[in-house]
Symmetry: C2
Subunit: 300 residues, 2 copies
C-alpha cells in the first residue's frame, strides 16, 4: 500500500508518497503561503503522484497549530486560532479527504514526529517514549503502548514549569502565557532575548549552553518521572548545536541522582538521543498516521 | 469470576475477594509484620475464602516498594531495596502464585490505585488520566488508552522538579535524593518539618495550605502538559484536609492561565477530584489487575 504524508509547517510544507523512510517514491517541499494556494499545491502533487504510482490508500498530516484533534468536532482537522496570517480556522484535512477520496489522519506536527521516531526511528517500538523538539517553540509528544496521548487535547510539553533561579538567570522568560515555563526559558527566541543574539551565533563555550542544558534536563526529569519513557528523543533547531546534547545528558544524570534504577538511564548516550530520521521525523510520521488510518487504529 | 485483591502497604495489608467495588465477598486487614507472618495471613485468608466462595481466578497485588515490575526479571514480583526492616528482597507474588495456583498480577500501590479509579472510580474509562497520592510520600500513576505506564520502571511523579522560591519558602526540601523536588517540598513529612507540627495539626487558615496548593498545582501543570489527562484524581492523607482541594483547583487554573483550551479544564471542580473509591482505590485496583491477568492483558 502507498500513502501520502504531509508535514504542514508554518514556514514550509513537505509532502511525500511512499510506505516508509526507505521507500519514498516522491517528495516535494514548498513555502507556506495562503491556504488556497498551499493546499492547491498539495493536491496537485498527490494527483500527479497517483497518476504515476497508482492510488494512495490514505494520507496523514502532521500540522502546525493550534489544531482541532477531536474527531467528533465540527472543526476536526482544522488549524484553529493560529497567529499565522490567513490561516485561522482553515480546514486542512477536509479538502484532502474530499478531493482525494481517501481516509485522512490529522495530528499535531510534534505528535507526527513522535510517532515517526517510534515506528521507524530512534524509539522504535518502545513501550514508552518521549519526543521533544526545541526550536522556535518547544513541543513534545509521547507514546504509551503505541498510542499517542490525546485525552484532553494533546501534550504541551513546552509549558511545564521548572525551577528558575533569578539570581543566576534574571531573564524573566518569554512565554506570553506563563512567562518562565520551559518554552519561556529555553526556546530559541528565549535564548536570543536573554543573550542578545541568536542561539546559533553563541560560541560553543558560552555559558548559555550549560544553562540551556540545565533547563532542558530539569524538564526531562519531569517527563521521565511522569511517563517513565524507555528513551527520550530530542530534535529541533536549537539541538543542532552539537555541544548541547552531551550537556543535557550529563545534567539529567546529575539531577536524577541515581533515584531511578534502570539500565537505560545508566547509559545516557543511548537514553537521550537525536532523532534517527533527522529532519524527516514529521513527514515519515505522517505516513505512519496514514497507515494507521487504513488499519482503523487512528483518528481521522 | 471471583478475584483476590491485595493492597500491600508498609503499615497494613488489606485483602479482599470479589469482582469489583460493589461485589466484595470478603475482606480482611492486618498490620504488616514480618514477610513470613504477613504472607502467611494473606494465604490463610484466601484459602478460607476459596473454601467459602469457590476458587479464585487470579490475584492482584498493589504493593509498597520499591518493587520489581519487569516480567522477565528473576526478581519479578519482589519488594526490592525497601528500608522496611525484614522486607528487602522479599518475593511477594511468587508464594501466592505457587500456593494458590492462580495467575498473580503485581504492581506498585499507586498504579493499583490509578487503575482502580480508572476502572470503577473517578476516572472511569477515560482515555487519559492521572492519579496522585499526597501523604508520607507523593506518588502518581496514569493511564493512556487503558494502559499503565511501565516502560522504564513506573512513574515517580513525586520526584518532578518544580519552582521553589527560597525568598518565600526557605525550607530546603526533605527528599534525600533531590532535596526540593515535589515530594521534598509537599509531602506530609515535608510540611511537618517546615512548620514544626504535623500537617493535620495546622489550622485551616494557616499559610501552609496555600503554599501546599501552590506546589501541588505547579506539579499538576506538568502532568497536564505531559499526559494531557482528561481528569486528575488526588488522594492521600494530606488531601484529607478539606480546604486543600479547592485551593489546588484555583491555583491550577491561575497557573494554566487559559493556555489549554478544553472544556474539562474550564470546570476545575470536575477536573481535579478526590478518589471516588476513597481508601479502597488500591485494593479495588488490585482486583482489576487480577481480572486483567486472566484476560491476558496484564503483567504477571
Amino acid at each position: 500500500m502507498l500513502f501520502g504524508g504531509i508535514e504542514a509547517g508554518g514556514t514550509k510544507f513537505v509532502c511525500v508518497v511512499g510506505s516508509g523512510p526507505d521507500d519514498i517514491r516522491g517528495e516535494v517541499r514548498f513555502p507556506t503561503t495562503s491556504p488556497t494556494k498551499t493546499l492547491g499545491e498539495v493536491l496537485r502533487f498527490f494527483r500527479e503522484q497517483q497518476a504515476q504510482h497508482g492510488p494512495l490508500s490514505a494520507v496523514g498530516i502532521g500540522s502546525f497549530g493550534p489544531v482541532d484533534l477531536h474527531p467528533g468536532s465540527p472543526t476536526f482537522g482544522f488549524i484553529t486560532s493560529t497567529p499565522k496570517a490567513g490561516w485561522p480556522n482553515t480546514d486542512v484535512a477536509g479538502p484532502l479527504r474530499r478531493e482525494l477520496g481517501v481516509p485522512v489522519a490529522f495530528e499535531t506536527d510534534v505528535n507526527a514526529s513522535a510517532i515517526g521516531e517510534w515506528r521507524f526511528g530512534a524509539a522504535r517500538n518502545l513501550e514508552t517514549c518521549v519526543y521533544l523538539t526545541v526550536g522556535t517553540g518547544i513541543g513534545g509528544g509521547g507514546l504509551v503502548g503505541g498510542r499517542l496521548m490525546h485525552g484532553l487535547v494533546h501534550p504541551e510539553m513546552g509549558h511545564v514549569r521548572i525551577p528558575h533561579d533569578l539570581s543566576i538567570d534574571p531573564f524573566p522568560g518569554s512565554c506570553p502565557y506563563h512567562r518562565d515555563c520551559l518554552e519561556g526559558l529555553a526556546s530559541g527566541p528565549a535564548m536570543a532575548s536573554r543573550w542578545g543574539r541568536p542561539a546559533e551565533a553563541l560560541p560553543v563555550e558560552h555559558a548559555a549552553w550549560a544553562l540551556e542544558a540545565h533547563y532542558l534536563a530539569l524538564a526531562l526529569v519531569g517527563f521521565v518521572c511522569t511517563l517513565s519513557p524507555q528513551r527520550v528523543v530530542i530534535g529541533g533547531g536549537v539541538m543542532d548545536q552539537p555541544q548541547l546534547l552531551p550537556l543535557v545528558r550529563r545534567e539529567l544524570k546529575v539531577l536524577l541522582n541515581g533515584y531511578i534504577q534502570a539500565p537505560e538511564v545508566d547509559d545516557m548516550d543511548s537514553y537521550v538521543v537525536a532523532p534517527a530520521l533527522g529532519g524527516r521525523s514529521g513527514v515519515v510520521g505522517a505516513l505512519v498516521l496514514a497507515e494507521q488510518a487504513v488499519a482503523g487504529g487512528a483518528r481521522r
